[in-house]
Subunit: 397 residues, 2 copies
């Protein structure tokens, strides 16, 4: 039904940024009935479906149509206060004007990219990093500074060298650095306190912003480290949070906390408006439960599942295989020297276990060939043990 | 807490488009306890809160955690099919690849603007038009062609003149025209069949796209007219729909139907992902009810409320006051010659009745000074009668 003229018009009028680069390599599709060490979301048993149902029932019985209009439910504001309280507990005091509730962390990243990036802009990213963030940035620019992560997180000394070199040679400095400093996706690593301080100094010296994605920050096996936002004295940190990992991803609730000028501008661009039903359901749910108790339960569960995974790795992997030991979050990052993990995946799925090949977390898919991401969030302890055993066998072949 | 350097950095790095024009004049804030002839949303009694509650209960009992993950609930796909069926019934056959579910019509408009507009682009709009759409376009460009609406909708002869003149003098032609052809917001008018044909011809001749916002299209007092999308033979129409007016705005469910190339590109930019909980709740609700029966009820109710409003206008307004007679939708558009409706609003609210001054629906707020928008969607019949009476008294003074 598409006239050729209109078709060529569309392809001509679509913004040039879109043509910068094709989307990254598609994620492999995972065979059903595999042990899902690939899935970066909570286990069914950890999703509070019945509590959310109870929240909807209470909300709609008490407020009737209010949460179903554009505005009106007092619970819409309450969600914002609940998020403020949780940030406050972690040393981040933000006013209402410094907080925007978004549809998950993804919308937060996208809104920030929309405000700050054009084709001229450079973004600094971690290698490896969250693949959805890469997809988002690709819509706006194809200029990146990619800084490797080691077991202590982003290598800030390498970032400093790159910035120095760019300044010396007159190359553009980054508009912002996107980082997941705590229990990073995909490596599970955590930026040390020393490197956190160094990073904030660099941002000040070279005048860039820091986008701190803290989606996993609360899921510490011990204490959560201090956030960059809490340490920031200059208003350079835009802090992104989410309820996807601690409540349920399908509710699509995240946020950005940052300087009020910035938040106001993000609001202008957030044209899907508030989501009254989702927001007031979540607020009612949070009101109904003791969140600290829930968080303790989650931390204990993930700590235990991670321990099962690490001891299974120890038991089943040949000596050449190495991994980082996570202190929280969802993921372990494993290196298989000399193995192409994309090729291995097909065989692994035939054996009934799935993971994500490392290349999907890099800008340049040649990197990460020997790595894979394992998630201990979705599968149960028994499955985790079995899955790693299957993988170990396969690798030893 | 904001260092001046970081502050000036933010203001320097925010995209230039943002500085094009300040947001339009803020909507007046409406005093509580007024009769709300301003509100463009459904009456409390017309919002199916208990049915939506029942849908959540059924959904979460049957599917447990599935609708609370990123993917997984079969009801996510079902919603898409239900929307396809409804479009089909109105003569628009679209495939899955030609349909994107959005967070309300607003996100649909914004996504289209993101793909098609930059600072060089011209947008053609109706005068008056939906104010949120104006706010959205202002984020991208400040170049508009503004074409007046009369009682038969957009004046396509004036559009043709403008296009001819632009072509002759080498001025840019519009990338797209944004129109609400059926039961327009704010005028309540409907584009005639003859003008619909003319508009499609113009789009073909001058090679632009048509963004058809059909948020009110199903709420006809008689028959809904054929949509531009149904008449389109060249793939030039992007059709926007919404469940906000026929179910509940707080669910934030809308869509765009258009050429698949276009929809694919919109998907890349829609970074708030799917909304599994909202989408599967809505799909379950639609499965539980007979939508045709609901629509009949809504049409009867709004027809009746509109009739009450029109006869109250007839009875209470001085002869100089005129209005268009709507054939569906939510709104009546009233002209008060010589009266500044923004000034009048304060007095009206003091008397206990609210409306929206006409200027808020125009790019240039000097236009529309003598007009006001009345909504018969929210207030009940008794309130509508009383409200118009109060207004009439005030105007006669």
């Amino acid at each position: 039904m598409m006239n050729m003229d209109a078709k060529s018009f569309i392809s001509k009028t679509i913004k040039p940024a879109l043509k910068n680069s094709p989307p990254g390599e598609w994620m492999p599709s995972i065979t059903e009935n595999c042990i899902r060490l690939n899935s970066g979301y909570p286990a069914p048993a950890l999703v509070p479906d019945q509590e959310l149902k109870a929240a909807v029932v209470r909300l709609l019985d008490e407020e009737r149509d209010l949460p179903l209009h554009y505005l009106g439910s007092p619970h819409i504001d309450k969600l914002k206060e609940q998020i403020q309280d949780r940030l406050d507990e972690r040393g981040m005091r933000v006013s209402k004007e410094e907080l925007l509730v978004t549809s998950g962390a993804c919308q937060a990243i996208d809104l920030i990219a929309r405000i700050l990036l054009d084709e001229e802009s450079v973004v600094a990213i971690e290698a490896p990093t969250y693949m959805e963030a890469l997809e988002i940035f690709r819509n706006y620019t194809n200029q990146y500074i990619s800084i490797p992560v080691d077991e202590h997180g982003l290598q800030t000394d390498l970032l400093e060298k790159e910035l120095e070199e760019r300044k010396r040679t007159g190359l553009s400095l980054p508009r912002f650095l996107y980082t997941i400093p705590t229990f990073q996706n995909p490596t599970g690593t955590t930026l040390t306190l020393e490197r956190r301080k160094h990073l904030l100094e660099l941002a000040s010296t070279y005048n860039f912003l820091i986008v701190e994605d803290d989606a996993y920050g609360e899921l510490a096996f011990g204490e959560s480290p201090e956030t960059l936002k809490a340490m920031d004295k200059e208003g350079r940190v835009l802090h992104i949070g989410s309820l996807s990992k601690v409540v349920a991803p399908g509710m699509r609730i995240g946020w950005v906390a940052g300087a009020s000028d910035f938040i106001t501008t993000l609001c202008w661009f957030k044209k899907d408006l508030e989501h009254p039903f989702a927001h007031s359901t979540m607020a009612t749910y949070l009101e109904n439960i003791d969140f600290k108790v829930r968080l303790e339960m989650l931390k204990n569960t993930y700590r235990e599942k991670c321990a099962v995974m690490l001891s299974a790795l120890q038991e089943n992997m040949p000596e050449s295989v190495t991994w980082y030991v996570p202190k929280g979050g969802y993921f372990a990052w494993v290196r298989l020297p000399g193995v192409d993990t994309s090729e291995l995946l097909e065989k692994a799925m035939a054996e009934g276990v799935a993971y994500i090949p490392g290349k999907h977390f890099f800008l340049d898919s040649v990197e990460g060939k020997e790595y894979l991401r394992l998630s201990f969030s979705y599968a149960d302890e028994k499955e985790i043990g079995e899955g790693i055993k299957k993988l170990g066998k396969l690798i030893r072949k």
